[in-house]
Structure formats: C-alpha cells, structure tokens
Subunit: 250 residues, 8 copies
Amino acid sequence: MNQDQLQALLTKVQQGALAVPDALHQLRTLPYENLGFASLDHHRALRQGFPEVIFCEGKTVLQVVAIAKTLLRKNNALLATRVEPPVARALLRVSKRAVYHEAARVVAIAPPKLVRRGAVLIVTAGTADIPVAEEARVTADIMGSKTDTLYDVGVAGLHRLLGQQERLHDARALVVVAGMDGVLPSVVGGLVRQPVIAVPTSRGYGAHFGGLAALLTMLNSCAAGVGVMNIDNGFGAGCLAHRINMVGEA
Amino acid sequence: MNQDQLQALLTKVQQGALAVPDALHQLRTLPYENLGFASLDHHRALRQGFPEVIFCEGKTVLQVVAIAKTLLRKNNALLATRVEPPVARALLRVSKRAVYHEAARVVAIAPPKLVRRGAVLIVTAGTADIPVAEEARVTADIMGSKTDTLYDVGVAGLHRLLGQQERLHDARALVVVAGMDGVLPSVVGGLVRQPVIAVPTSRGYGAHFGGLAALLTMLNSCAAGVGVMNIDNGFGAGCLAHRINMVGEA
Amino acid sequence: MNQDQLQALLTKVQQGALAVPDALHQLRTLPYENLGFASLDHHRALRQGFPEVIFCEGKTVLQVVAIAKTLLRKNNALLATRVEPPVARALLRVSKRAVYHEAARVVAIAPPKLVRRGAVLIVTAGTADIPVAEEARVTADIMGSKTDTLYDVGVAGLHRLLGQQERLHDARALVVVAGMDGVLPSVVGGLVRQPVIAVPTSRGYGAHFGGLAALLTMLNSCAAGVGVMNIDNGFGAGCLAHRINMVGEA
Amino acid sequence: MNQDQLQALLTKVQQGALAVPDALHQLRTLPYENLGFASLDHHRALRQGFPEVIFCEGKTVLQVVAIAKTLLRKNNALLATRVEPPVARALLRVSKRAVYHEAARVVAIAPPKLVRRGAVLIVTAGTADIPVAEEARVTADIMGSKTDTLYDVGVAGLHRLLGQQERLHDARALVVVAGMDGVLPSVVGGLVRQPVIAVPTSRGYGAHFGGLAALLTMLNSCAAGVGVMNIDNGFGAGCLAHRINMVGEA
Amino acid sequence: MNQDQLQALLTKVQQGALAVPDALHQLRTLPYENLGFASLDHHRALRQGFPEVIFCEGKTVLQVVAIAKTLLRKNNALLATRVEPPVARALLRVSKRAVYHEAARVVAIAPPKLVRRGAVLIVTAGTADIPVAEEARVTADIMGSKTDTLYDVGVAGLHRLLGQQERLHDARALVVVAGMDGVLPSVVGGLVRQPVIAVPTSRGYGAHFGGLAALLTMLNSCAAGVGVMNIDNGFGAGCLAHRINMVGEA
Amino acid sequence: MNQDQLQALLTKVQQGALAVPDALHQLRTLPYENLGFASLDHHRALRQGFPEVIFCEGKTVLQVVAIAKTLLRKNNALLATRVEPPVARALLRVSKRAVYHEAARVVAIAPPKLVRRGAVLIVTAGTADIPVAEEARVTADIMGSKTDTLYDVGVAGLHRLLGQQERLHDARALVVVAGMDGVLPSVVGGLVRQPVIAVPTSRGYGAHFGGLAALLTMLNSCAAGVGVMNIDNGFGAGCLAHRINMVGEA
Amino acid sequence: MNQDQLQALLTKVQQGALAVPDALHQLRTLPYENLGFASLDHHRALRQGFPEVIFCEGKTVLQVVAIAKTLLRKNNALLATRVEPPVARALLRVSKRAVYHEAARVVAIAPPKLVRRGAVLIVTAGTADIPVAEEARVTADIMGSKTDTLYDVGVAGLHRLLGQQERLHDARALVVVAGMDGVLPSVVGGLVRQPVIAVPTSRGYGAHFGGLAALLTMLNSCAAGVGVMNIDNGFGAGCLAHRINMVGEA
Amino acid sequence: MNQDQLQALLTKVQQGALAVPDALHQLRTLPYENLGFASLDHHRALRQGFPEVIFCEGKTVLQVVAIAKTLLRKNNALLATRVEPPVARALLRVSKRAVYHEAARVVAIAPPKLVRRGAVLIVTAGTADIPVAEEARVTADIMGSKTDTLYDVGVAGLHRLLGQQERLHDARALVVVAGMDGVLPSVVGGLVRQPVIAVPTSRGYGAHFGGLAALLTMLNSCAAGVGVMNIDNGFGAGCLAHRINMVGEA
C-alpha cells in the first residue's frame, strides 16, 4: 500500500465512507494468496515491476502448476526458472503463450505488447557457460530489456574480446559469465565504464569447488564497479541488469 | 536410577531384603537391551519423557524393524525419522497404529490418549522448506505439543509475515525454517519475545554449500534469543520446541 | 504499534479527534531516535521485554556513551556487552547504578526492584570457558532470571558432572559452555529433559579453528533438544535461556 | 586509443603526415608512466571517467606520495583509499585541495566545479558498518553522484527501516552495508525495484569468519536484483553505485 | 636390506664370492615386482609384518585380481579393503581360502595357523558406524590380534557405556568409532589409561560435512592419549591397534 | 599480429596498397571463427605452438563435433580431453586419424611426421593415479615430447623409487602424480635438480576432500622447484612439461 | 570407585557399619575438589596413571598457581603446558622441585624416584618443529618413558633419515613431528612396524593455513598404522606415546 | 652417492683397498652435519646445484647464524630467506660477502665468478606484489639466471601489458606474481608459449582469505602451461624458474 492509497484510505475513514474494522483489515494486509504450501505475493508486480518468479528446484510438479495458475489469474506474465523437462511439459499445458527456453531451463510468458528498451549485453568466457548466460538473457528480455550476446571470448584468446570492444561500449549494462578461473569480468571491467555484473558458474573441476574459485576471483576483482552474483545465478543477473538498464527511464 | 530408588535400594540392603550381589548388579546398570548391532536405551522414556527415536539413515530395513519391535515391547509410542518409502512400508507392517507422514519422512505411533498442550508455531520462508518443517511439527505433536504452521512467508514479500504477527505472539515457542539466505529467523526474532529456534535447510545452490550459508546467517543473527539447529534437523527443532513448550507445565 | 493502539488511533480519526496528517505520521513510525550514527529502537522494551542492548565492539567510546545516555532517558535498565576497560570506565561515569562485571566484560544496570524468577543453570567444561558463561549468567540475571553455575565439569573427569545430576534436573533451562572438543552439551543433553542451550567457545588451538570445531560438535549433537549459539555468544545464550525460563510465567 | 583516433592516425599515415615508425609506436602503446615500482595508467580517466585510484594497503608512504604526485600531473582529481593517518598526513602535504575523510579512511581531491547528479542512497544495518558505508559514499560523491545516508536500521528493529521506505524509493541506486548476519540487503531488496548493491562487512565474531557469513547471506539473497561486493569493499560499491546512477545520463 | 645382509654381501665381494656388478644390482634394489600398472612391494611383509594390502577403490576388477595373484605367489596371507560385491566375487575365485566379510567390505586370507594374541576392543557410538568398526576388527584379527566389540553405546544413553567399564579396562588397545558429533572417544579417553584410537565416520548430515565435524571433535579431544584416523579409515585403525597390541610382545 | 606483420601493413597503407578501412579491419582482429556457441581461436597454433584444445566436459556431443571439424579445417592436429565414450565414438567418425586413448580419456590426432624430442618422465604414487598420468603423457607426446613412465612407486615402499633414481635424472622435466597424502612430489623434488610438476589427484576419501589434501601437501612442499597443477589436471601438466622440455630447443 | 571398593561399601552397609546417608554420599561422588573456577579431578592419577595436567592458555596466573597448589596437596608430580614465562616464574615459586623446560613451554615436577622404561623416539622434519617435539618428549619422560630424539631429518635430504633407520627400529613407539607439507610421518610409516604418532605443526605459510595442510597430509597417509594428533599438540603425542610404550608392561 | 662412486667403492673393497667396516660406513651415509637442532645436508649442492637454503621463520637468530656458518664451511654460496632485520644484521656479520636485499627479505652470498645465463622474466600485477617478486628474482639470480622485471601491469590497465609483449616472448621462463583476483597469470599464459610460473600473494582483503582467492584463480587457469606455487612463495618460484631456464644448457 503506497503513500497515496494510505492517504485515500484515511480520508475515507474520516468521511465515514469506510468503517474502522474495514480500514483496520486493509491496513493490516497487502494482497497475497495462501495455497497452504505457498503464500503468493500478488503485490510483487506493483512493487517491483514483475510478478513473483517461480524457482522450481525443490518443488513438486503439482506445486509448480498450482502456483503458476494462481499467479496467472492476477498477472499477465510468468517466469519459471530451473525448469526440468517434466515440469516444462506441465507448464506448457497451463498456457498456450508459455515458451520453454531449453538451454536456459526457463519457461516464460511475456507480457502482451512488451516493448523492449535499452541494451543489456551478456558475455561468456566459454561454451559451457551458455546455459547460465541464457537464463540471464531470457530474464532481462521478458522483463523488458533489449539484449545481445557475445559468447566464448575468454582470455585464453584475448583478441576475440579485444576485437569487439565497441559492442561492450554500446551496452548500458553488462553481464559477464565465467567458470574455471573466472577472470573475464576483471578484464571486461578494466575496459568499460558501465556497470558490470559478474556471474561465476560451476563449470570447472578439482580446486574449482563447484564454482567457489570463480566466485572468489570475481569478488576480489581489481577492476572497480563489478557486482557479483551467486554461482550459476543467471536469473538474478538478468534481473539486476534489467533494473540497471531501466535507471533513468521514465 | 534416581535418588529415591537409590535410597530404597540401600535401605533394602540394610534390612537384608536385598543380597549384596543383587544390589551390586542393580547399581551397575540402567536398563538397556543389546541386539548386537544396537544397544537400546529403555531408560530413555523415563529420563527424557519419550522413548529412543530411530534415525533410519545408515540402517538396513531389517535393523530398523528389529529396533522398532524391541522398543515397542517396552514403550507405547514410537518415532522413526528419515524414513524412505521401503522402510516406511516395513514399519507400517510392525504396528497397525503406525502412521507414515510422507512429507516429513516420519513414521510415528502416538501414545494412547495423548493430550496435546501449549502452542508451538512452525514457520517457513519457502515452499521447499516444508519437509523439514513437517518433521519438526510431527515430532512436537507426537511428544504432546499443540502445533500450528505458517508456511512460505519469506522476506521477499515481507507483508505476508507482518500481516500475521499476532499468530507469532500467540505461540509459546517458534520454529523458523529457512534455506537460501536464511534471513527469516532474524526478522522473526526481531518481532517477538518468545524463544525462537532457527533451522537452516539445504535448499539453495551455488555458494549455499548445502545449507552452510543459511546456517551461518542464523548463527550470526542480530536478533537475540535465537538458538540454531543443524541443517535440515527438523526432528531436533521439534523436540527442543516441545521441551520449551513444556517449561512451566506441572 | 499494537492492535489496540491502532484501533484507538483509527477511532480518533473517525471522531475527528486526530487529523489525517497526524495519523499518517503515527502510522508510519514506531518510536526510535536518530543519533546520526545510530537509530535507537525505543520500542524494543515494549516489544521484547528489555531495552536495546549495546554491543560495544566496533563502536567508539563516544558512540557507546551517547547511545547509553539516550537509552537511559527512556528506559530504567541497561546492558552493554563486550566492554573493554576504557569503555567500562566511561559507562560507570554515566550512571551510579552501573556495575562492571569484569569477567563477563559486561556493564549492567538492573531495573529497580527486579524480582528474579525460575532457574537457569550455567555449566562449563573448563575454567577458560568462564568469561562466556559469565556473560550468559549476567544477561539472564539482569533480565529477571534466577541463575546458578556449575563450572569446570568437562568429560575428562566425568564423575564431576555425574555427581551433580540433581542440580541439572532442578533447572528450567540449561546453558552449557565448552571449547576444545565441545562434547559437554551432548553429554548433558543425554541426561536431562529440559531445553539445553549449547555455546561453543573459541578456547582451543590448531584444528579448533577459533571455535569452529566445538560449534560443529554441538550442531551435530546426538542428544536431541540442544539449540546452538554462535561461538562465544554468551549474551545470546543468556537471553534465550531467560526467554525459555519465562515460558509459562504469567 | 579509440576508433576515431585510430582512423585519424591511419589517415595521417596514408597522407604521409605521420612516419611509419611513429605510427608503430603510437599503435603499440596507450599512455602510462613507469615509476619502476608502479606503472600508472594515464588512459584510465579517458576510458572509465575517473583517474586510477590508489589502494594504499601494502604500499609505503613514499610510494603512495610518488604515485599521487604523478597522477596529479595529468589529472585534476584524486582518490586514495585505506589511508592510515601517517599516509593521510603525507598526502595532505601533496595538495592543498586534498581532504581526509577519517571515518572513510579516504583522501580525496574533487575535480573543480564538479556537479553532482542523480541519487545514491547508502544504508547500514549498524553503527559499526559506517566506515565502510562512508568509503562508498565519498567514492560516489567524488565521482559525481548526489548521495544520502540511512544508518543503523537493521532488522532487529524493522520499523526503523519500514518507516523510511520513501527514501528507499527516491534513490536511483542503493548501497546496503551490513555485518553480523547480513540480512538487511535481502529485506531492502524485497521492498524496492531499483538496483541494490550489498556490501558485507567484517563486523562480527565467532562463526562470522571475518565477514564470510554476511557475504554468503547476501550471495544467497532471496530478493532478486542484488549484486554483491567483497567484504568491506566500500570503494567498489561506491564506484558501481555511481556507474549505475549515471546510466541514462547524457 | 638390513645391516646383517649388507655386511654379508660386502664380505662376499671382499672374498671374491660375489662379482661387483651383481653386488651393485643387489645394493640397488629391494624386492618388488612390476605389473606395469602396479609395482608390488614384496619386501613389505618382511619390513612391516604383513604383505601389501589392496585398497580396491579406483582399481578395475582385472587390476585387483592381477595384484592379488601376484601377491599370493610370495605371501600366504591377503587383505583387500573397500571391496564391492563384483570385486569380492572375483577375489573369491582366486583362492578357496578367501573369505568375504560383507559388513566390513573386506576380503581376507588369514595366514595358516595364525595365533591371535593380546586384546583389541572395538567400540561404536551407533549402529551405522558398524561397517567401519568391522573393517578395523577384521584387519586387526587377520594380522594376529584377539578382538572384541562393544557396539551402539553412544552418549545419548551414557549408562550403556558406564555399565561396561571393565571391558574397557581389559583391552590393551581401544578403537572408538563414531559419526555425528563424534564425542564418544573423548568420553572413553577420560575413563581409561590405555591408548585410544578414534575413528570418525561419515555418518551424519548437514553441518557434519561428510565426517569433518566428528573428525574435528576427535582432534580437539580434551582427553589425552587419543590418536585420530582419517574419516571411515577402519583399516588404518585396525592396523594401528594391532601394532600397539604387539608392543612388548617378543 | 606480430611486429613484422604490423610494419608490413603500415607500409602498405603508406604506399597506398591498402585502403584505410581494410587496414582498420585487419588491425582490429586476429583470426577466430564464430560458431555462435563457440569462438574458435585460429591464432592459437601460431601463438602457442598447438591448436586450441577441446575440454569436453559441459559441452554436448554436437558442440564437440562441430568444434573439432572447424578446428581441423585450419589445423592438422587435434586434442580433446575429458572424452566420455559417446563423445569419443563421435570424434572417431570425424577423422580416420583420430585415436582414442581410453585410460587417458583423450582423443588425439598427431600432426603428420611429428618428431618427438627431449625427455618427459611421468611418475605416479599409485595405480589409481594412472588415468591422470596418461592424460599428461598423451598431451606431452602429441605436442612433440618423448615420454616415459614410472607408475605405482609411492612412499609406502620407498625402495621402488630409490631403485630407479637414474631414470629420474635422465628426464628434462618430471610430472609426479599422486592422490591420498600427495607426498611423492616432495620426495622426488628432494632427489633431482630438474623442474618437477606436481599433480594432485582426487583419489582418496574422507579428509581428502576430493583432492584438496594432496593439493595442499604439494603447495607446501619442502622441496624447492616444484610447481603445482589443479587436481586431476593431467592435460595442464603434460602441456607445461612439454613447454619446459622445449626450453633451449632451437 | 572401583568394583572392590563398591563391594566393600555395600558389605559395610549390610553389616550396619555404614549408615545409609553416608553410603549414599560416597556412592554419589568420586573425589574432586571445587575451587569455584575449577573442579580438580583427584581421581585422575588413580584412573589414568598421572595427575590432571594444567593447560595454561586462557587461565590467569593466579588460577594456574591455585590449581597447581591444590593438585600438589594430593599428588607428588605436576605437569603444566603452554607456560608463558610469567606463569613459569610463578610456578617455580610454588615448588623447588619444579623445572621449566623453556623450548617445550612446560613446567614439570617428576615423581620422586621415577624409573623410566621402554623407548619412545621423537623425530622432527625441521628445526622449527622442535618446540612441539620437546613438549612431547618432556611429557613422555615425566610420565615414565625413556625418550630419544632425531631432529631435522625431513625429506628434502632423505639420506639424513635413511642413514639412521636402526634408531627408528629400536623404539617401541615413534612420534613424528612436521610442519610445511607434513610428509615425514608417511615416509617413516613406510619404513617401520611400530606404532607411529604424527603431529602436524603450525610452521608454514600461505596455503598451510596454520597447520591444516600438514594435518590433512597426515590423516591421508598412505602408510598404515599412523595415528594423528591435533596441530601443535606435543603434549597429547607424548602422552599417547607413553601409553603405547607401557603396553605389555606389568 | 652416485652410480660411479658406488662402483669405485665396491672395486676398492674387491681390491682390498677399503676395509669392509669403512665401506659399510660410507654406504650408510651421505654427508650431513648434526648441530642438534639441525641436520645440515652437505650433499645438497652436489645433488641439486645449490647449497641448502635457510628459511629463517621459526628459527632463532642464534640458530640461523650457526647454520649459516656451518654451511659456509663447505659451500661458497648462501641464501637465507624471510630474513627480518635483526637476523639480517647478524648474517651480515658472518661474512663480508653477504648482501641484504631488503625488499626481498633475503640475505645472499653469490658464488664467486658466477656467470648468469638465459632469461627469466618476473612480472607483477601490482606494486604491493613486489616483495614476493624480488624474492623470486634474487633467488634465480644467485643460482645463475639472468633476470628482468616488469612490475605493476595488472589487467585493470591491460594496455600496460599488451604494449610489452615482446619482452614476454624474449624470456625462457616467466614468473607472474599477483594478489587480489590473481588473474594476470591467466592473461599472460594466453599470450606466450613458454612455461609460466604463477605466484599468488597474500595482498588483498575480505574474501581474499590471505591469498586463497588468488591461489584458486591460478590453479583453475584457463591458460594451459601454468604451474602454481604456494602463496607468497617467491623463493620457490625463483628456484623453479632457474631450473627451467637451465633445461637444455650443457
């Protein structure tokens, strides 16, 4: 409930247009819906610009479907992440507008007549980092950002990146995804003046410790202006890139 | 053997009603029963109010069944945790009174005529935390506590929790279960004056490290009066909540 | 602002006794006071039964003194923890009622006419665990619990503990403090039916890793009903023990 | 050397206005200056909008002073971080325009006639987090952002934050600084739609492990759109916040 | 090659009974046999009292069988550990004397006419620790120690252990195996004066970290005289217990 | 683009033989080829003496085959590592010259008429370390080094190694592969004066933590002149050994 | 209280020679003495062959002196470890028989007419490991073992150890102390058939992590029959070596 | 004792020129000298090309001086590392030829008439990495390598490195030293075909964990042919670089 709504409500009470118990009820709750196993936050789209997103790991197919249906009753867009094929098949049956982005493990329903704006560039160090990058790209796209990609340009062949510096400079926000040594965000961060979001991936072995090595590299980046996401968190990176991309938009 | 029993025993020896070797034998042992692979503590119910609980991980079906049968010969209640379906089926054949709580992975036999008292509230941050929460709930319930639940009220939509503060205040003990960032116990702990038991879950990925992240969040909670359990330890939380709930009961 | 206060406020608005802007202001804020470097929560005592506690580490002497003075203007009790001697001396000058508990590193002002109730027992494994134990004891005491202690009864000489089992059974809540291997809470937890709060200390060396070893021991305790605090967190243990001790009190 | 400069250079070569060896020299190097112990990047201001920043830890006073003097010959602004008092005194002698921000441990020289724009809000959970927050604030300020602060509003007294939600909504970028359990960024991230930069601090003890606990909390935040910095990295947060603040600016 | 053999060899060279090249050859090598993928140490039995033991993890069935056959050509005993059923079946075909100890995952051939001596006692905290305990027991047994067992006597029911203290005192060496909190070796170590070998097991969950918690507990044991083995290393414990048991034997 | 090529290009521009836009294009890029999911570095062979190597983990069969075909269009050699059998079968169909080294999990195509030079010795502590050792051996071989092996000579039977010291001294570079305690590189490093490359393997259990124990042993080696590779990184060790072996070659 | 004493007590009760309350008192307690801050275990010498040992870290000088005086009233020997010089000076004033072993940081009073038996050999890898080795040596010596030393024979110069193998074979128990890579116990363990006690030290830097690297090396030792102590735990090693040395003694 | 010396010795025994006991003595020992607290390896220079090096941490001034004097009696060169000023002053008094390299914390005596050969290049990412780099440089220099340096060329200003690629290509071995994110070795490793030795430094803060972050980055380097040293181990890097530099030298 925002400032204006609160003022309106209080004025109604003052004018006798709203009974105290009813006002009390409204003041106590923002809209959410209880499914027993889930409390769905219908205020999310109003507050943050996009409905609640379904993180599918750890939920049953039945739970995911029930949540999706409930959300779609109040919203015209949907994003579900970490979607394994059986869950994807079930979600595709929920709505004809649903699309399964397999590489990204995402099922998405774009808002109708979505106009994409600005410029988010997604960069990866290697081929195996692409699933995480695609999760970021689809997320930013569905929220309303124009996106572009630059994949497999790690520092083992630095000229692949240096040859495309202009594409780096054309973006409003950059997402840089890397596993192994995780050095690409430091290199990109040294070249540009825009915000850089670094995403470590679990790609690697041995002393990589499931992405910990790349994560630490990025947290300790010598390049300033680099924010770091959790390992494999493409969704979070896409969401943050979109929010940055929207800064300064009316 | 408690103080009174010890005094009685010594008095019998003094009176010649008990031979020294027999007294010697009784003084040396509290009741337990040796199955070779298990030494069952029949004194547990007397000492701690509930019989020995069977933790099924790492035990064969045959071992679990043998332990259950032996315990049931001396006790009228049973609790088995971490019960996979094949073990559950075997236990249901041991007693008609046994109930399988599938979400909680628990098989339980309630003591006859159990009167549940007090109020334990189980709260979760997300849907995927429910199995651990249910293990806590069933445990507290079978031991004799009244329980209630409040699921999926994490801080991404804070109004879901704030809208139900009275239910928080009505409990005598709260169990707060959370994975991911594990912040919910800090928020709940800042709102109430009752004891809060925080349970981290292994739900998460990447730098979550199997629940370590949530565990550390909870151990470092800014809110005072929060005790922490091992990751996914719903049983321990339910047991502790029950004991707190019983403080001050005759 | 609780339910009753909210209803009263709305009724006043309805009756014209309170202008909308004033109501708006009150609805937006619970009482706190801004010192620039600190936002003091004057609602804390009402909500949780004791005023905000000052954790002195990382604060300057001037900051601690300013916070203490501000808190004392609205409260009649004070607790400051992790108090180094120079801070203690400054605090003792703030109020004649202030007492410095040196072993506990605590400065405390008890509420006038405090009646201590119930029974909290503080147990330590070794002599070097006493400072943490004393922080717990003073905290529980100042909040209104009767406290007792049982120090240096670790398992290297188990009979020291077994010989005093009745004192264990007489408490409503137990705090067990241990460094090194941290095994004492498991042993105590196996003997009693009351809630046990385990506090690892940083006492130890080598693979103790500043208390991590003892912490892990306690989190993995075989004994049910044991809640764990952060390493050296005597304050938190005392606060939780007090809250448990108060369960069932009118 | 950017695209336009490169084209100009090649055209000069084509026109005979630049000899091949000279062109070769220019193509091989961007401007930097070698002090033996440091290679100063004079291209930094052109490329990233602010001159190279001096991280003083691990450098001698003499090295810091020599670097500062060299940078000031080519730039009209300066930022030195992690400045201990002796280094600060030496830097203040280098230029009369230099200012020592003691809480932030920063020495700064603002560019002449700097016009600050946009809105960056710095939030802390506690008083002891202020030094890191101030490092972020001074950094964003000196780079050209308008800044504001909201200190000591952690979740132990949640109403302190909820009462000032509008100030959260008024910012273009938020920096949220927290030690201990590090939960504040999750709570703020659940309330706003702007980019949130989370900065863990080393404030804490025991299982806080020098800030690791707070870092992990933030990386695992349930709230989307939160980017994380290294522990105590106020400078990086300020720089990233400034860059985000500048997105969409002409 | 020991001192006496070396002296004999040199005397032969002096006497012309051994040519220099032959002496050279003998001086350079102790007996071992090269299978390409394995260099079998035939000197082991002479040097350490038992032939080389086959650790089967990471070896193919063919490799294990080839190694076993080669060892049996020069030795009359065999011990293979971490034996999965297919490997066990293959080894049982190698020799009719081979016995598969399934709980211990060991295949063993005892030396003919082995006389077992002394007394090694194997103790476990729980039922699930028995596989590791059995690996220790079979190892000590096959090397020539008399063994006895005391299983499932953890501290949750301390009287089970205290009631059998005399069996503890009767052993020459004790192996104490425990998972979860790993506290049993500390308790046993406080009761006896013999050497205690502590073996942590991977039994546990959450913050047990695959046995790390129990390992750290044991390394930090308050009880003196406790040596620790790697997690789940029953073989090593059995071998060390046997060696201790043999101290003072002719 | 090297120094000579750059000078030639500029001269052509000066002479009007190359238009500015074409020069601009050439100056911006070194050769690589974009497959969408991969940017293949065709400059690698020129720059580092061997074409880009395919690390197959995390790539689909289709991706690996497409990369292999593209690389083979510009190069006459190929190395693919971490090749599971289905990938191997697909690669063998790409070229008749391809060979699958199963133990090493490598598919390789040697350059025609490759002359192998120098001497690289690969040593292992145990049989289970051989797969990693073979990856190193095949890598060094295909790049042009003569290789030899000495397997299963760990310190449990030290004479196996000491008896073959001359083979150690005959190599120009040594690769020493060990799991478990990882001590062999320290022992070899104390015996020779050549560069030693230590490779920890994930072979082990319990407190081995997937190779971390062996890795730390090697990083802390008392023997000087030992460089360490990531856990199980046979490829990197073979590559580094080859490069060392080539030092001083015309 | 042992079996015989218990029987005697019960017989006295039967005969009326002992009143029930007195028997009750005796049955409840083994001898210990309460100093408030310490509960001294006077039963220790009877039970384990040597009085309680004072670990001085974390205790004040006054506490140490009070404990020492109390112990000396009931025992004729004393061992205090981790003794800093001021504590040492205070202890030397407690008894003229006290000796300060400075390198070992130990103050000891040997029992009168102590006859040392058997053979314990203490080996170190380097010079800096000697303080820990000396703590072990003095401990074993004061408890009644003959001791010998072999210092600075690490594997960087393996011949220093191999040249003295007979001294290894002459011991009944070996303590091997090493920092850095911690490989020496593996090498010694491969040469002997006696029990080997490995002690990691905190000597090292970087990825040594305060002794963790050496500790892990030892826990993963390829050599069988090696038990491991906590980092820098010379006392524990000396105590265990003594107990092993006494096995088989009348 | 090498092959030729052994043959000569045996021939002397055969010819009666050497008595059996004398031969026995020689066969048993390589030269070393026992100082009680140190066993000096006089065979080191013969075996590995340079005398034993003194690592001064953890040794007293007296011990270092005694070791230095003993080594200088048999060798004409000396290297002492981790030399604090008081130790340096003492060593400078031992020999007039000794030189203190303060930045490197090294005292060195070069062999007379040392001819330096080949080319070792030492590169650092930052100014604060120079002490470690200098330790490497002085070590390689004193052992006989020509050395050169390239300092403070980290990726925050990549052109500083790219502008000097030829100097990279001119070396036979490269040592790349970096703290913080530790990315420089990956970048250098992608540009050259020579062996690269990566040295992480402890320079950094927060999630740098004393150099662990940089270490992990380097171990996971995407660039092939990179060997890694322990954190801050400049000595080891210099020694390995020298050995690589000598490969192929007569």
